[in-house]
Amino acid sequence: MAPKTKEKLKAAAAPSQPPPSIEDLFTSLNRHIQRSEFTQAVKVANQVLSVAPGDEDAVRCKVVALIKADKIEDALSAIQSAQKVSFDFSFYKAYCLYRQNKLDEALELLEKQDKTQSGMLLESQILYRLGKMDSCVDICRNLQRAKIDSLEINLVAGLVSAGRASEVQGTLDAI
């Protein structure tokens, strides 16, 4: 049997006690997130959802925790079953598809959305995998103003793979 949280054990020992409140569950969820215990976080998020189906915070925590736990297929299922949640999961879904190497599908999804920094960054990574190096470099250059940490690593990779290694030094000097 899966290890249970202290709260759960307490509840089992004293059946007369009420089940943990949603606030208790969120406190527990937050603790798991802080400790990077993502599998546990998913379980607690599910507990919240069993009491409050469609709770947006719980759904979002569940999806993110599944992604961070590398359970990409499960994350996609969770997104799929969260149709009624108002949060827009398109970027998350595109990221999951990228992780599954479904690159065309991911790109198609991103193209339907408004351009955001995160979306453009993901697009550049997808284009790199697709071997479309010039497009990848163009997007990275557009993103340079956004001050994304380590972006220059991907930009240089794009330039080298595009056969434009001669531009690398100038690019790095300009940063």
Binding site: D24, F26, R60, V64, F91, Y92, Y95, L122, I153, G158
Partner: protein, 44 residues
């Protein structure tokens, strides 16, 4: 056949930076701690 082995340049490293844009929502306001803070503020 088979062709002779030859060295090839190593592929440059690409990082998954998009990963950092996937983050948990703030759930502080959903926790009990927040309520306690409110009560202790009343008492304090």
């Amino acid at each position: 056949f088979p062709p002779a082995l030859q060295s090839i340049p190593r592929n440059p490293i690409v990082l998954d930076l998009a990963d950092s844009f996937i983050d948990f929502p703030s759930i502080e306001n959903r926790m009990k701690k927040d309520k306690k803070g409110f009560i202790s503020r009343l008492w304090g």
